[in-house]
Amino acid sequence: MRVVAAMSGGVDSAVAAARAVDAGHDVTGVHLALSRNPRSYRSGARGCCSIEDAGDARRAADALGIPFYVWDMSEEFADHVVDDFIAEYTAGRTPNPCLRCNEKIKFAAVLDRALALGFDAVATGHYAQLETAPDGTIEMHRAIDHGKDQSYVLGVLTQQQLAHSLFPLGDTTKDVVRVEAAARGIQVAQKPDSHDICFIPDGDNAGWLGEKLGPKPGTVVDEHGAVLREHDGAYAFTIGQRRGLRLGVPADDGKPRFVLDIEPVSGTVTVGPREALLVDALECIKPLWCGTAPTETLDCTVQLRAHGDEHRARVSVTGEVVHVELIDPASGIAPGQACVIYDGTRVVGSATISATSRVAVS
């Protein structure tokens, strides 16, 4: 096959490209230029958007002896990922930009362009496994390395997208990938993993949003509506947040308080005790099924954030709405987050959380 290997400049995508070459594919390395004003050097825990990262990707391609190009996806990235991130926060939701990037950029804009240009597939360094079921359905499973598993941020991919995707690292642990990179002479073998949101330079999400959105004053209130303090913008808060609330006065019971709710129009942030964070039911919209939609109630597990815990759940579907009953309640769940549904290691589907129901506090 003719394969585009998306190469961020990190170790995972470099080894994924190398494995695609080993598998006998005709591989072309492509680095995605996502930032309109790339920084010269890498800084902090981001690993894809500086000119230095583009150079690392180029050197990895040299080591593999494959052609290498930079594709400008900065417009698409700004429209579909950055603007979406801002809009979601403005609406009081908590988006996952990496998931959005996979859905709209890597496996949409890039894949579509690759197919149009005569390629057959896109290979990435994501940790997930693909299997073709007897009925032809392409199943996605968690990676062998559960600590690195990225099936959650890939749960949005359609069958059509998966049919043209290669994840060569799904059957390998990260340690082995690093060793393999070193053995292959790839210079980024020891480059640190990236964690932060790539387009926020110093990892200060609230500060970045504040710059983009300007001050939007509001209040922080307790469960009974008593005002505890003023704030400059609700976007500085996420549901489940405990640190940095600067409430001044302690709670009546002296226990720590958490953000329970954000009301986007008034900017009111409600805080309360940990117990009040627990939810045991979710309503989700915009489902995407990896195969066919479940026709009856499904006993399964769900994951509600990247690298988050698995929760046992019972899932039923009514039209385009997914009802999730959590047997293991979850805390810190915000509308906007993705709920990815698993049957064992297999991704059943993904949907966006639109509403949560609190555990009744007795």
Binding site: T28, A33, S35, R36, P38, I51, A54, G55, R58, P67, Y69, V70, W71, D72, S74, E76, A108, A109, D112, R113, L115, A116, L117, G118
Partner: protein, 401 residues
């Protein structure tokens, strides 16, 4: 490296293969020890090689030997010319803060001028070009004559690097001369393809570089009139007329001269042959892709267009997609866009010519040279239909997303 037979190299405007005579001259001199500034026999031998090279290059470009200042190449020569002239004039006449230049200059000229504006108090006056990429002489005249006593220098490239459009240098010189304003021209793309006569041009300074005419990368010259004062950029031993310091590279300079000798010596035949290849290419492109637009001045000749550059817009396609698809088949060309490993920017030159962003991104530059053959051209034409079809499909996918 000489492009191998598996590569159809059509990017000679980026750099062209060294002529064998230049490789031989360079190899010979690399084996010889001697600093041209040393007083002993080895030093004198090196000096002789350098001075013979200087004389040959001066002769071929219509200059006096003392007017040839060797340096590292086009970027350095342009920096030396524009900064050197600006500082020197400003020291004598503090009112001369204006620099008048065209909107299609290469970054090697545009960026030093911009730097002077940002850091040294220069006032820059960028004059427009027409759709063919040629300076609008009346606009340049108006810019100068608005207040001639405040202009420190005028600079205009001889031939544009993206479309090959040749500029009305004599008109520019006449305008500036009337007010005693020095004129510089970046002739990097023109050298080797059109006759350059420094003395006859009336220019005060002119940039040439070796690797665009069959010499090595890393050496070039600022041809600068003897009476023109310029402030040096590099201070040190003062080797090159006190304008440029640094041990002169005998091997690079010898190779530069060998390339000039061969290339200018055969210029007439080579240009005629290349113009023929270009015609074959352009006609073939338009036959295969009827909506393709060949940009720039269609007229050949040393007052019109370089013989070796064909700049083509493919509506509904992205140049970088076509470049990649051609490259996969061993055909090498350029999008002409500035790309520093990050996001490729649409060329400021094309935007200045009035092309919009989309057209600027949808263009390719094919540039021919002394090693180009009919087979190279035919390979492009054979590959073009499929490349074009795929690139157009990719572009549709993109605009639909």
């Amino acid at each position: 490296m000489t492009p191998t037979s598996r590569t159809a190299y059509l990017d000679h405007a980026a750099t062209t293969p060294m002529v064998p005579e230049a490789i031989a001259a360079m190899a010979e001199q690399l084996a010889v020890t001697g600093n041209a500034s040393s007083l002993h026999s080895s030093g004198r031998a090196a000096r002789r090689t350098v001075e013979e090279a200087r004389e040959l290059i001066a002769e071929r470009f219509g200059a006096r030997p003392s007017e040839v200042v060797f340096c590292s190449g086009g970027t350095e020569a342009n920096n030396l010319a524009i900064k050197g002239m600006y500082w020197s004039r400003l020291a004598q006449q503090p009112a001369r803060r204006r620099i008048v230049f065209s909107s299609i200059e290469h970054h090697a000229l545009l960026d030093p001028v911009t730097w002077l504006a940002q850091h040294e108090g220069a006032e820059v006056e960028m004059t427009p070009v027409d759709k063919q990429g040629r300076i609008v002489v009346d606009d340049l005249r108006a810019a100068v004559e608005r207040d001639p006593s405040s202009v420190s220098a005028v600079t205009t490239m001889w031939a544009n690097n993206e479309m090959g459009t040749i500029q009305p240098i004599s008109d520019v010189v006449a305008i500036a001369r009337a007010h005693d304003i020095p004129v510089h021209s970046d002739a990097v793309q023109a050298a080797g393809y059109v006759p350059l006569d420094f003395a006859a041009s009336g220019l005060d300074a002119m940039t040439v570089t070796a690797h665009k005419l069959g010499g090595p990368v890393g050496v070039g010259a600022l041809v600068i009139a003897r009476e023109l004062e310029a402030t040096p950029l590099l201070h040190g031993g003062g080797q090159e007329r006190d304008l440029r310091s640094g041990t002169v590279s005998t091997a690079l300079i010898a190779a530069f001269a060998a390339a000039v000798d061969v290339t200018i010596g055969h210029q007439r035949e080579t240009v005629a042959r290349i113009e023929g290849l270009r015609r074959r290419l352009v006609e073939g492109i338009v036959a295969a892709v009827p909506d393709a637009i060949v940009n720039g001045d269609p007229e050949p000749g040393s007052d019109h267009r370089l013989p070796n550059i064909a700049h083509v817009t493919f509506p509904g396609c992205e140049g970088d997609a076509m470049l990649m698809l051609f490259d996969a088949q061993g055909i090498e060309c350029s999008t002409g866009s500035a790309c520093a490993a990050g996001v490729p920017q649409p060329s400021h030159v094309l935007l200045a010519m009035g092309y919009d962003d989309v057209a600027a991104r949808g263009s390719l530059r094919f540039s021919l040279g002394h090693t180009s053959t009919e087979a190279d051209v035919d390979r492009v034409l054979a590959a073009l239909p499929a490349v074009h079809q795929r690139a157009r499909r990719a572009s549709l996918v993109r605009s639909g997303s």
